[in-house]
Symmetry: C2
Subunit: 309 residues, 2 copies
């Protein structure tokens, strides 16, 4: 791997860009990147922002960048899945919305293409974040369109996960049940100037209150914002800080770090097991088995067993 580690550690933009492209385009995951940067990791605070298309995530992220820049923090934004067929259009708009930050050398906004390598998607997103972490970015924001499981995985790799909804999400809130409840640390009802915001707020609050309180765990909060009008943003950033403090006090930041390393190791081993197993011989055997004249004479379970033995 021809990665300019020194350049990354010195936060040189070209070195960072090249490393990101390497991660994005490599056919296989490569753990040597992690190894080389590992002792410089763990300084950044990682925030995940997820929600359905049209919830106003980008405008919200734009405001979150403002907040951290006001505290002189360096911010990196990783937009996951911009090449997804249905969200691509929105990203062009996002560029415009977050445009003014593009000129700020302490803000790095980068899309991550995901086509074709969804197996390692969450890990590649983590590699992106690790590069920014090693380069001294204080805040790393993952922005994902949270409609697929893979996208949720990315969001889960953050220290604080913000789920953005709109007042019209009422029905969705009813249907959310466990899934989102488990990953969201903060719920934001954005576009709260619209009708139904108070109902959505109350509905979500009462659902959260029905959950049993577990000592030492964070009770998710609900915040109403209108990112575009600049309303409710102080509530949001206060809640963010409160959650961050909570994580530090309970040693959760450190545990998250270990959990991410663990996930990375598991994924790499999975890839290695697969590439070691699928020798030319094994691939030939599978091909031969599938070339059977009458495919319905095949017993798939037997093929699996034969290949494994």
């Amino acid at each position: 791997m021809k990665i300019d580690f020194d350049g990354i550690l010195n936060s040189r933009r070209l070195a960072i860009t090249r490393a990101l492209s390497f991660v994005e385009n490599a056919d296989n995951l490569d753990i040597s990147l992690t190894d080389a940067l590992f002792k410089y990791l763990g300084r950044a605070y990682r925030i995940g922002v997820t929600g359905p298309p049209g919830a106003g995530k980008s405008t919200l992220v734009d405001k979150i960048i403002d907040y951290w820049r006001g505290l002189d923090k360096r911010v990196a934004v990783i937009s996951v899945d911009p090449t997804s067929p249905f969200t691509g259009g929105a990203i062009l708009g996002d560029r415009v919305r977050m445009g003014r930050h593009y000129a700020d050398k302490n803000v790095f906004i980068r899309s991550m293409a995901t086509r074709g390598n969804h197996g390692g998607l969450a890990i590649r997103a983590q590699d992106f974040a690790d590069i920014f972490d090693a380069a001294g970015y204080d805040i790393i924001i993952y922005e994902t369109v949270g409609v697929g499981q893979v996208e949720l995985d990315v969001a889960k790799a953050a220290d604080t996960t913000i789920v953005v909804l709109v007042p019209e999400s009422g029905d969705d809130i009813q249907a959310m049940k466990a899934g989102l409840m488990e990953i969201a640390d903060l719920f934001v009802i954005n576009k709260a100037d619209r009708q139904g915001a108070n109902q959505a707020f109350a509905q979500l609050q009462s659902m959260l209150e029905m959950r049993p309180r577990v000592e030492g765990t964070w009770p998710p909060q609900v915040i109403k914002t209108s990112a575009i009008k600049g309303e409710g943003l102080t509530d949001l950033t206060s809640a963010l800080r409160e959650h961050q403090t909570f994580l530090e006090r309970h040693g959760i930041i450190r545990q998250n770090f270990r959990d991410r390393v663990s996930a990375k190791i598991l994924t790499h081993i999975g890839e290695q097991l697969s590439s070691r197993f699928w020798t030319a011989e094994k691939r030939g055997l599978l091909k031969k088995a599938l070339a059977i004249e009458n495919i319905q004479d095949l017993v798939p379970g037997k093929v699996v067993q034969t290949l494994l033995n």
Copy 2:
């Protein structure tokens, strides 16, 4: 596995329902289901319908059901990812929209919960379809919200894939590039009574025409519909039949069947490799490695190598 195979083959609803639940809830994929049903598979025609939320997929599926019922074909619909936090609400609406078919004993509409097992999601969806295939359903429709990679995988497992867009998808069409183009056999611009339908149509057509023609491959078609008004449906069903004929003439249906078996075998082997590898001893070693006092002294790549050797 306590599956009533005889009941499935005789298309008994209770036997089918129980088998589907088994597939949905099993912690691990089980290939013995495939083995038991294998020689009864390959009779059904599998259609994938995917597109962004709000494109009118369910109404369209409802009309496609009508069409096949008019030809006295038995139809099964598999709705993938209904428990996804953001699409859950819509499904309740879908139930209403497709409601009149619920009373028809030759139509089987079933949601597939996906939470937590996305590794095998596409394969589980295929197992669902196989159960319906063995039970003598002629037409199997996968309905997915195509925003994540996993959802696209499901759509790809169909013989004919329909991508549903709306006139407002203009920007998205620009951004689609390779991804969707590769999976869509038919593009439907639904809600075509809305403004911009002709532009979206022309835009999509010209993009498709720019692609090089490959002999023996299907040139994707674009159809305008207004499912709710019943417009353009004959164009759609004609195109469906045309594609089906094309697939049969070129032996693609048989090849698709082989490809699906191959994907299933690959996934099962992947799961087996993983479960064989992660013995209690290996899990203990990983746990011990991660318990290192100063996590930053860890070299993740070394842990991977140690575990693999």
